[in-house]
Amino acid sequence: MTPPLSWIGRRLLLGLGQTAAVVLFIFALTEALPGDAAVALAGDHPDPARIARIRETMGLDRPAPERLADWAAGLLHGDLGTSLISGRPVTGYLTAGLGPTLLLAAATLALLVPLSIGLGVLAARREGGPLDRTVSALTLAVHAVPEFAVGVLLATVFGLWLGWLPPTAVGADVFTEPAVLILPVVVLLSRPVCTISRLVRAGMIDAMASPYVAQARRYGVSGTRITWTHALPNALAPATQQLARTCDWLLSGVIVVEALFVIPGLGTVLIEAVAARDIPVVQGMAVVFGIVTVTVNLAADLAARRFAPRSQVAA
């Protein structure tokens, strides 16, 4: 069951438009921030002549539309420009930050799917039973705690009191010392596990009460098979779309976690770039975030159609 190509084409065009809109919006927002890169760089030594010179060397004395047009022209050639502050290419910033962030996000997603499906199915199988009530209470409670608090708590308990895990990733290479990622991944998992497992549970309960499951039971199909092959795929459609939203959320949740545990990923790069008013870097990030978000949501809609073709996911 493949969706018609025209549908994908439409979605892709829409995605391009959305990305362009995001980029424009971010540019306007950064321009609207008080001060510019020259002022931020001058810091506590705001000698007006020096600020004017910095502005000149950065090309900030040109009108904003002209700078945006220049940048957009570069983008069409696949050139994201160079940082105002360091003069290093923006692509370098992105590739340096992308590694740790992707690793964090991938590890989180890899654990998120089996964990939340497992929890959801477990709770749904005994609806209203003690296990279901415990899972529900726990997921609600954990979901109510902000990541920042969870992170501080975990780092203090496991990193400093018990000494089981590194409390931060300071000076560590996340690729060669994956232990530094354990706590950050747990923090990132804490909230999405709760929402998705609850969605799976609700979907499972609906699916188990549906006529086709009753029919399968009448045919004598085993309970396990019904759960995993008949009910679950239908229950997953809403969860898949929530998963896509989780990917978007991961991009922002990552900012908190990266700051807390000192992981030099995209979130850190973005915060620094905004504080320094380094527009080309901020813009480069906006493009990447926009493309990732559009792609992930498109993939999720495709997957949802695949799981539940009859539920007719709107384009």
Partner: protein, 521 residues
Amino acid sequence: MNDARSSLARRGFLIATGATALAFTAACGTGATTPDAKNAAEGAPKRGGKLRAAFAGGGANETLDPHAANLFVDAARAKALFDKLADFGADLAAVPRLAERWEPNDALDTWRITLRKAAFHDGRPVTAEDVLYSYRRIADPKATFRAKASLEPIDLDASRALDPATVEFKLKRPYAEFPNVLAAFGAYIVPRDATAFDEPIGSGPFGFVSFKPGSSLVVKRNDTYWEGAPHLDELEFVVAGEESARVSALLGGQVEYAHELNPATARTHEGKGKIEIVRLPGSAMQGFVMKTDRPPFDDPRVRQAFFLIADRKELVDGALSGAGEIGNDLYGKGYQYYPAGLPQRTQDLDKARALLKEAGAEGLKVTLDTAPAATGFVEAAGIFKEQAAKAGVTVEIKVGNKDTYWKDILNAGTFASYRSGAMPIESHISQRLLTGSTTNATKWQQKDFDDLYRQAQSTRDVTQRGALYERMQRRLHDEGGFLIWGFADWIIATAPTVHGVSKQAPANTLDWARFDKIWLA
């Protein structure tokens, strides 16, 4: 979930954590069992080991170009890799570094600098040509380096190398305190052809190994350093923007040195034996600026009233959590030329009211500009608001943007929070208190004051010069625009194994972040 998988996962977890647990107990063990290690700190330095130091930094702003240094971490890294001709002692008087000595002419407008024997990491000797190249690079009209303003008195076109070890600087005017320029923030000496600094070559105590912007710089011992090789084999600067992360990394044994801690954190861990807290006094002046060229502060009586409104002890205790000492409305407590003999000002609300009444400023309302641009700014503003209310003055606090704060308050507004790192009193005056100063936030533009400064710079004798500085500072103490209520300690923390950290040097002076004198035991 099936059992086999989860038990395997648990085992992997234990393997992964075992190593860090060991490292952690080892780090604790040394602190807990050898309290006398601190007393033995005066013993013979031990050679070897790698020290990791955590600083706050800016990913995008990070550069190894020493002339572009802006942040503390830039300065610390530049100091490891490069040298200046001079640097500041704990009293902010210039001490010779790459310059062995300096000799002015009688008019104090030509200075002859004799270089010591030193070499860059690639073996080339440091010569007068390198010095001139470095200064010309900083002062390049197209460049935007911070030290450019400090080098302004030098006429670089007329300056020349007399021989490989002698530079003759021609100045645009007499300048008795010229060595302060040689020690200025960012005035490092680079090799004469240096343009890129991806793999920098300097003459400093450590040589370059590797650099990841926004995360780490590794440097190694320079065995041929002119002042003697450092004790450490290797030194790594790591960047952690969050203060809590720097402390956690130190407690967790991931670093041995953490720079810039909050007073509250320091109090929590002081005397517990896990980490050593070092307080560097006199590092950061804290105060308010009153713009003396506009109402209400164009009347000196209003300024004097504000001096008397401040309860300095309460400000230090409240805004700095007690980590500092009170100020006397003068910059540079404890530095060379500071007039310690002037009486300490204390709160006198009755006299403040009387002065305001005399100035016709009863029921005065002022807006205080502040921002979370430095530790304690917003807190100090709140405390001063309460104090001012007791004298019948209404202070409205306006919290601005921290990224652009310093530019915002330079010319706009009337009353604002202010802070300054360590610099010689002369630099403070020349940068902020003369008619032509580039960052004159108090708008203190007094011709006779300018004359006193010029006179001091044409005075060869230190005692006579000190007397002129005292006259200038008496004036400022009496009716200046700087309400300086305190000096914050600069707090760093180290693992108990770290020795040789200076406990005197204000931030940005020679012995601050001086890793060539530090050893691990």
